[in-house]
């Protein structure tokens, strides 16, 4: 064996995933904070009405437009509803919309992308055309168009958000599938007699999950922003349903005259949610694929 012109020092011992995890976490207290924040928001979303101090739908015009106080931590809105309760309950809806949209997007996008990357040929062209067409539109505008055409309902918000996010998953899945298509274990699985769909589902898919997980968490934040943006301009969720986007829309006219709490708290909650998702996504990416760091 010719070691004559071999390079420098011996490589460090392979770290176990756990040690790497601890290393990244220790280096990144921010990721820990993001995880904690995410857990908190998730808890709020899940518990929802159970922890809301007041009934989010109960209006009481006599106590309308009250600034934050001990009784109403986030104040009351223009029809006397408790803003804190509404913000809490809205978490469930916003999370629900975002999670459903992302899940749909991921399922469809990853499947199409995988097939495009694995089979190549006609599949590749078709999926490529589809993603290119979607990406030819400014995405938010396309979502507006879809909701306008299909009807102004919450389901359609989910579908629209899913469609506009599809290309991201399709592209990543396609690239990953393409790279792994000729990997030893895939070829072995094929030779062992597995049908293509089995190979895709049980061998390829699980292996592209790590980069896809990164995409999902990076995408969640954007999905929430999209959904909130759509409801801000009046699509999808309608008043009096509590949702962060329309709460900000309702609070818009009041903030100009100084009643800031109607818009600030739902907007702040929205920001916090998106922020924690983004941080989490960054942390996951550093953990799984440090070279893609920017």
């Amino acid at each position: 064996m010719s070691e004559t012109l071999q390079a420098v020092a011996s490589p460090p011992a392979q770290n176990s995933l756990r040690r790497h995890f601890a290393h990244v976490m220790g280096e990144n207290p921010i990721t820990m904070i993001a995880l904690a924040l995410f857990a908190l928001l998730l808890a709020v979303a899940v518990l929802g009405p159970a922890i809301a101090p007041y009934d989010p739908w109960a209006s009481d015009t006599s106590s309308a437009l009250q600034p934050p106080s001990l009784q109403h931590w986030f104040g009351t809105d223009h029809v006397g509803r408790d803003v804190l309760s509404r913000v809490i309950v809205a978490a469930r809806l916003d999370f629900g919309i975002a999670l459903s949209a992302v899940f749909l997007s991921f399922a469809a996008g990853a499947s199409l992308g995988c097939m495009a990357g694995y089979y190549g040929g006609w599949w590749d062209v078709a999926v490529g055309r589809l993603t290119d067409t979607i990406m030819s539109f400014p995405l938010f505008v396309l979502a507006m168009g879809i909701v306008a055409a299909a009807g102004n309902t919450v389901e359609n918000i989910v579908y629209a958000t899913a469609i506009i996010n599809l290309p991201f998953y399709a592209r990543v899945a396609r690239a990953e599938a393409n790279v792994r298509r000729d990997a030893a274990y895939i070829v072995a699985a094929r030779l062992a007699g597995n049908s293509d769909s089995r190979v895709l589902l049980f061998h390829l898919f699980p292996n592209i999950m790590p980069p896809m997980m990164v995409q999902i968490s990076l995408n969640m934040g954007w999905a929430i922003l999209n959904a909130a943006g759509l409801s801000f301009i009046g699509l999808g969720v309608r008043p009096p349903t509590p949702e962060w986007g329309i709460m900000v829309a309702e609070g818009a006219s009041y903030i100009i005259s100084g009643e800031w709490w109607l818009a600030l708290f739902p907007g702040g909650a929205l920001m916090l949610a998106v922020f924690s998702f983004n941080l989490l996504g960054d942390g996951l990416r550093d953990l799984i694929d440090p070279q893609r760091r920017t």
């Binding site: 064996m1 070691e3 071999q6 020092a9």
Partner: protein
């Protein structure tokens, strides 16, 4: 050595801070290069040759720092100089040519303009004269049709041509010291020969001190007056070329000579050097870093304070049990 030294490096030590530890890349490295002399620095990859070159130029990586020693060029203390002074010296008094010629050039700038950039910076000529001087520089390195090549982009040129451009740029202001860091490694054999011929001709013609860094021992043998052998950050032997090959003193040098094909041996006859370079992050490195790969190693070799000692006229070696 009777010629006065232009470059005088004395006991230079360089460290790199990395995530996994401190790498002692160079330790106690000393060398001298005189005007008109071509000195070769040879060693395996990782022996610290390039680090040394970067240290002289003052362009070490961010993580690197000089921890001891001095580098004096023509009376000027390079390590103590300010960045502004160094910028004046680089390209004018000392120049460097790099290993991969095409990536060493700005990919979106015409090569002629890149030469002009150096001229504009260091030479006292008017703007009008710049293009002409740039074309002259290109013709001095035997680039055919230099006026047309002025407008070429690096991707339009072959590796050999790119390296000629690199040489032209480095020599544009007639430096007194040229450092050539593996100048022919990325090129095919024929081109290697022509580039080396060019370098030697220019070096001799201008009485330029030249430091040729290479892992190719026979290349060094053809061109250099003196050869310095490095291993794992140490200078382990230094001798005039002929003497080094006739009577290598350090076991590593002997193995290196034996391991380098000169085209005459069969593949089986080429002896490999066992082991690999030690991990330079270790805190318990032995005084002789070749110790664990050496078949002459005994307890005496582990005694501290190993230095270069003379074993002949202009011949020094750092070994307790030289051949």
């Amino acid at each position: 050595m009777n010629k006065p030294a232009l470059l005088h490096m004395d006991r230079l030590s360089v460290e790199f801070r990395t995530r996994t530890g401190v790498v002692k890349a160079l330790e106690d490295v000393s060398l001298r290069v005189a005007r008109g002399e071509i000195v070769g620095v040879v060693g395996e990859s990782g022996s610290g040759k390039s680090v040394m070159a970067h240290a002289i130029m003052g362009i070490l990586d961010r993580a690197g720092r000089v921890t001891a020693g001095s580098i004096v060029l023509g009376g000027m203390d390079l390590l103590g100089a300010s960045e502004a002074d160094l910028r004046d010296v680089r390209g004018r008094e000392v120049s460097m040519i790099f290993q991969s010629p095409r990536t060493a050039l700005n990919p979106i700038r015409q090569v002629g303009r890149q030469i002009e950039d150096v001229l504009r910076r260091h030479a006292a000529i008017t703007r009008r004269q710049l293009p002409r001087r740039a074309v002259e520089a290109l013709s001095r390195v035997r680039i055919p049709d230099p006026a047309k090549r002025y407008h070429s982009y690096p991707f339009e040129l072959s590796g050999g041509l790119c390296q000629r451009v690199g040489i032209a740029t480095a020599l544009a202001c007639e430096p007194s010291l040229l450092i050539a860091d593996e100048p022919t490694t990325g090129l095919d054999v024929t081109t290697q020969a022509t580039i080396m011929d060019l370098l030697r001709e220019l070096a001799v013609g201008r009485r330029m001190a030249t430091l040729l860094i290479t892992h190719d021992l026979h290349l060094a043998a053809e061109v250099c007056d003196r050869i310095i052998v490095m291993h794992a950050g140490h200078v382990i032997e230094s001798a005039p070329t002929a003497k080094l090959f006739r009577e290598p003193s350090h076991p590593y040098t002997a193995k290196l000579i034996a391991a380098t094909p000169s085209g005459q041996e069969s593949i089986d006859a080429i002896a490999a050097i066992p082991g690999s370079l030690p991990d330079l992050r270790a805190t318990n490195l032995p005084p002789c870093r070749f110790a664990y790969r050496c078949d002459r190693h005994t307890r005496t070799c582990d005694r501290p304070s190993l230095t270069l000692t003379a074993v002949g006229e202009g011949h020094e070696v750092a070994c307790r049990r030289p051949l």
